[in-house]
């Protein structure tokens, strides 16, 4: 994991932004390209949307309901358009489009990096990777709520590599210290031109996380080596309803299914892919009716192993970003941190016995 450490942060150029210059900066970005940023969606809920008016952008928000993945892996996407009579098809053309994501929390960008890994590995997939091209990310700091636990999965408040700029809130009046993380960020600042460089070098404000995993993140995969048969999975399954919300809201889940749809003219149709989730009952079912993960305890275990073990064994990264969405939106109030901590307890007890 290659962090931009605080010693490196001190070498980054820094600029002071107040509320007004931030607003003007968003407007400046909107003149250049499409800007996507968090906006209000109903009451106390937030969503990443294309910005139509810079004033709609919300800079203080705990998290959006959906992670950023919807822009690169749409919930439903056409793969092919076919002609049933002629047995011919046209592949959907996906164009890479310049876009700037503004006001993004650092764990969210880590989620995108995990998805990049998954879509690049083995057979690099053009659908995802083409949409993903020409994207720039401008980060913003956040106050962890009782669901965030990013620090526990190796994403502390000062992890900002991958952004071009990072806005660190330094007062309650919406004043920001803006860190220039790469040359693209510097170009944006230079062409914006309305802000002054700050010579005294600040650090990114440290944050306190209430929600914590009780073991260092480097050791979590090791715990997963020993808890496959833990009773914790059964306990979670007693409460889980198998709705798949955790899959849909997860920043690093990307499993999908594909189906064909025919138009009313019975001639034209489309092959579309749509998000699927390993928590859903039929996910591992084959045509003959055999279901290879029929029980909820098996499915919960599979989901967690995909976050902390299976992909991690290849990528070297945890594929959970600590955003807390799966826990906040779980209808059965299941907390992923409680699951991990229970597994750690199980593991610790085993180690003591041996």
């Amino acid at each position: 994991m290659n962090d931009v450490t605080n010693s490196k942060l001190k070498k980054l150029k820094q600029y002071a932004f107040d509320k007004d210059s931030t607003l003007k900066f968003i407007e400046f970005l909107m003149q250049k390209t499409e800007v996507i940023a968090p906006q209000n969606k109903g009451q106390a809920s937030y969503s990443y949307e294309i910005v139509k008016d810079a004033k709609d952008v919300v800079l203080d928000y705990p998290r959006t309901i959906q992670p950023l993945k919807k822009f690169f892996l749409p919930p439903v996407e056409d793969l092919l358009a076919f002609d049933l009579n002629a047995n011919t098809y046209q592949e959907e053309k996906i164009e890479a489009k310049d876009k700037i994501f503004f006001g993004i929390h650092n764990y969210e960008l880590e989620g995108i990096k995990r998805l990049d890994y998954s879509f690049k590995k083995g057979n690099p997939e053009s659908n995802y990777l083409t949409r993903r091209e020409k994207s720039m990310f401008i980060g913003i700091s956040y106050e962890p709520d009782s669901y965030h636990f990013s620090e526990s999965v190796g994403i502390p408040a000062d992890k900002i590599d991958g952004f071009c700029l990072f806005f660190d809130k330094i007062s309650n009046k919406s004043d920001y210290m803006v860190f220039v993380v790469d040359e693209n960020g510097q170009k944006l600042i230079d062409s914006f031109g309305k802000v002054n460089e700050v010579k005294s070098k600040a650090e990114i404000t440290a944050k306190k996380f209430q929600n914590k995993v009780k073991l260092h993140y480097n050791r979590i995969p090791q715990v997963f080596d020993h808890v496959y048969k833990s009773k914790v999975w059964d306990k979670v399954a007693e409460r889980c309803v198998g709705c798949g919300t955790c899959n849909l809201l997860c920043a690093t889940c990307y499993c999908f299914d594909v189906r064909d749809e025919i138009e009313i003219n019975a001639k034209d149709g489309k092959r579309t892919r749509f998000w699927d989730g390993c928590m859903l009952n039929t996910f591992a079912e084959v045509a003959g009716g055999e279901n290879f993960r029929e029980k909820l305890n098996q499915r919960t275990r599979h989901r967690l192993y995909r976050k902390f073990k299976y992909i991690t064994d290849h990528s070297g990264e945890l594929h959970c970003i600590g955003c807390g969405r799966c826990s906040k939106y779980c209808p059965a109030d299941i907390s992923i941190v409680e699951i991990i901590n229970s597994l750690i307890d199980d593991y610790t007890t085993q180690q003591k016995k041996n």
Partner: protein, 279 residues
């Protein structure tokens, strides 16, 4: 941020291919001979599969039942058991199909050379195995004994009757068949496939076993093979899962951390032991 600069591909475009021949094997199984456009070769290995698609009906993984030694066309044996395969059974010679693949690893044939080869096929498991059986028959001198064990529920479900007659006639192939539920005309063995294993006389250290059948079968066959003292390293299994995309992305076929469409469907038995969900 790590570069996105990789050679990316559209992974989901099928190649429109032509059905050359359809043959009814049982009440629920048909064999299709398929040609890629411009006589292109599929270039598959025994044990691999393709994604078959019919527009409007979707896509499904089907294992290839013909040997690459018998190209340029290839064959699929398909059980009528879902939306796509129901539709497939309505198709005739001259109709079109979409093909993606071949996918998966296939059998590690190099490890089979110079060895006695034991095949254990249950039900429709004979279809994927036939690709390898034909391969070893076509290159007969590369292998020592060839022993085929085949079990079905009843005589009406027996696949490839013509081939089976050939196998029975040949002195260099040992073929044994059993059915669980005989009909009035059946004169052969009765019982599950594992009843064929104990009577075999095998040079166990030099026998490579390939097992393909319904999920329930594997544990019992493994137990019987262990009873014969066949080393674990000599056993290969082909596992069925829902290989929806074939390219290691969609997640449906995963056995623990292993994508069956990438690492499988053929697994070395020692590897299966590491995968709790495998059998």
């Amino acid at each position: 941020m790590e570069t996105l600069n990789v050679e990316k591909k559209n992974l989901y475009n099928p190649v429109i291919s032509e059905i050359l021949k359809v043959e009814s094997l049982t009440a629920t199984e048909k064999r299709f001979e398929i040609a890629l456009p411009k006589s292109a070769m599929l270039n598959h290995k025994p044990g691999q599969f393709v994604e078959v698609s019919i527009f409007g009906f979707g896509e499904a993984p089907i294992s290839i039942c013909s040997s690459p030694t018998r190209t340029p066309t290839f064959e699929l044996t398909v059980r009528k058991t879902g939306r796509l395969t129901d539709k497939m059974h309505e198709l005739k010679a001259g109709n079109a199909l979409g093909i993606r693949g071949p996918f998966g690893n296939g059998f590690d044939i190099e490890k089979f050379k110079g060895k006695d080869i034991l095949y254990v096929a249950g039900g429709i498991g004979l279809a994927p195995l036939k690709s390898l059986i034909d391969y070893t028959i076509d290159k007969r001198n590369d292998f020592k004994r060839i022993i085929i064990l085949y079990g079905t529920k009843n005589p009406a479900e027996i696949l490839f009757p013509k081939e089976i007659e050939e196998w029975k006639k040949r002195s260099d192939i040992e073929f044994y068949i059993t059915v669980d539920r005989p009909d009035d005309k059946w004169k052969g063995n009765v019982g599950v496939i594992t009843t064929l294993i104990p009577p075999l006389e095998l040079d166990v250290e030099n026998t490579i076993v390939s097992v393909v059948g319904p999920p329930i079968m594997y544990k019992f066959v493994i137990m019987s093979l262990k009873g014969k003292r066949i080393p674990d390293e000599n056993i290969y299994l082909s596992l069925e899962r829902r290989m929806k995309c074939g390219v290691g992305k969609c997640g449906h076929c995963q056995i623990n951390g292993s994508y069956v469409c990438q690492e499988g469907p053929v697994y070395h038995y020692p590897r299966c032991k590491e995968l709790e969900e495998a059998i």
